[in-house]
Symmetry: none
Subunit: 210 residues, 4 copies
DNA sequence: CATGAATGAGTGTTCATTCAT
DNA sequence: AATGAATGAACACTCATTCAT
């Protein structure tokens, strides 16, 4: 393990530098976005802020859109990592604990840099895929979580519907809580409230047939 | 009456034509957005598709951003109208009926042209205000609705928190239901499910103190 | 005389109004020029400031350049009137008195609205003719004045050369005196100095042959 | 020596090329101005005539006005150089020689490309500073010249007034001589005549007090 | 590989001018 | 005549992208 890591880091100093450059470029986009808005995000400006020549920038990205795509991939990846961790660590936990852990992970992801998520979602163009992919993962996470606890959740009739509702609730509420929660609602209280809302939904008596 | 009508009709044609032109321009933006994406939305192209000269376009809008702002205002206004109507018509109704009516209004607004909402939100630049204003109205609507029914909702401790949660739930779930609901979930069923989720949250026993 | 004047003013109220409109337009150009500079002088803006519709403006002037030409004609005409008056009133006067009268007329023309002359000369495009015409008239005035006093001016060898020198001196010095004379030089003193300079030149011993 | 030359020559080519590009752009403006008039002076046209891409043009000048400013600076600088040289070379010469040298310099500056001066002054927009600066320098030159020869010029009462008069005379007469001198007045004769006029003024008995 | 000068298609916007009312 | 909404050619300027060094 140690050996291979050493070998890898010795063999690929180039790749490490490349990775640093890519990171610098993505960070530059965020910096510019925050400071001057999307209109100021030009490739030349990105390169300048990243401390890279415009020529180098084009060595790492085929065009401007690829930069945005990478930025979204990185961002979604970060949130996803938190979710996956919560999912694994609470594989055997109660539904309540799992939900709380997932809400925790989501809010943490949003509060480490509040506004960044919204910035990326509303200002940086992205293929529907980029966001979809994330929604699908969240959906999948909850689908698994619910499926594994059908004993506890006898009122859940349709797994997909429940996962759909819960995923959307968690996404919107965590995002909203990080950015726009009412002044008298603390972050910890918000987490509890969101988890409670989710649990209330999952435990409620199903709707009458249509 | 006749006199005032005559007077009005002498002045109106101009105003009506102006309004038509404005509508044509906003519609053109949507058309281009759908067909060719945001990059194709140039002022000259808008004017062409709207059947208006570029000069006329600039007689109605001071610059490109003003067109986007107007587009957002129109869109939010349309949704808002549905919500306000539901709110008024169900002022004296039960909580359940009111929630169902509001969910109905929201989903209808999203399904008349599914994707338009998302298109505008993700692709057309807008000041935070434009969206915020709408979120605030939805929040206010639910705040009123809940406040008027505290007898029925003894478990709601904090009005703002409840309104916050419900507004975000409804917004995200209705939007999601219109665009991404699971295949086995019909629109009518989705409406019921969303309303049920909201009611389950509102009726649930509040969280224990931390 | 009175009768014909009355008749004329009754018969041509239209022409009088037309003249007023033209004046309003030319004045508007000057107003805009002073307030906002040449870039702000657009036909639409001129019409607005003049209190005339853009359509009417084009009834009086075939295009934008015609407005500038008329403005220059009016301005040159005003200065020219003063010069001609001085010339006629001092037809029989001494050279010294005539020169003083001409300098007086020139400076008065420039000081009634100091800066206007320069504004028109440097900012408003004009055919070479427009200015030339004026220079030629000044040249002509001095040519006549000198020619009529060759007895007094035995040192003047070439009439055209003398008129050329004097016309340029008077033009430049009067213009300069109105706008940029040194702080310790009053207007009256400037007039004397300019006249003296002109007279000194005219009375001086001619240059040795080349 | 060789080392520094090598060092310099490694950096210079870029600077030299840049300077050449700037010159090409300014020359292009003049070419277009002469051939097609000011209205044809568009940035795209300038770039085309200069043999440069429009993008490069904007790498050297922030906007169109900056091009005009540079053009004026270059032009004024050229004339100024001649004046300063004449001033230095004749620092110890007689007043007459100095005046003749200055008139010589001015006329030479105007005759190398007759019409260019007028073209720039009447057609190319320029801040008052650009021209003023030059007038001030000419004024200063004559002020020094006169101040250093008060022994010869006992009739000069006020230095500033004399410098003012002489500077304006020389400027206007040299400019006029280059462009509009009467047909029977050769350039050499014009020079003599202008110098004589200046000397006549400076040597004349001052005006009686008012 | 890195650089950054150079490119030029394409953008938002203006404004002189027209013409139906 | 007078109006002013409408027109659209033309402009100043930007910026994603290339490529010679």
């Amino acid at each position: 393990m140690t050996a291979s890591a050493t070998l890898r880091s010795r063999r690929r100093p180039v790749q490490r530098r490349a990775q640093q450059t890519v990171e610098a470029i993505l960070d530059a986009v965020i910096r510019i976005l925050k400071r001057d808005g999307f209109e100021a995000v030009t490739t030349n400006h990105i390169a300048e802020v990243a401390g890279v020549s415009i020529g180098s920038l084009y060595q790492y990205f085929p065009d401007k859109r690829a930069i945005f795509a990478a930025l979204h991939r990185r961002h979604v990846g970060e949130i996803d990592r938190g979710i996956q961790t919560a999912l694994i660590e609470n594989a055997a936990a109660s539904l309540e604990d799992l939900v709380r852990a997932l809400v925790d992970a989501m809010i943490d992801a949003h509060t480490s840099d509040p506004g960044l998520h919204e910035l990326l979602m509303t200002e940086v163009p992205h293929r529907a895929d980029d966001t979809q992919e994330f929604a699908v993962r969240l959906h999948g996470a909850f689908r698994l979580a619910i499926a594994a606890r059908t004993g506890e959740l006898m009122n859940v009739r349709d797994l997909d519907t429940a996962a759909f509702v819960v995923a959307h609730m968690v996404d919107a509420l965590c995002h909203g809580a990080a950015l726009r929660r009412p002044p008298n609602l603390g972050l910890a209280a918000a987490k509890r409230e969101i988890a409670n809302a989710v649990l209330a939904y999952l435990r409620a008596t199903p709707a009458q047939a249509a």
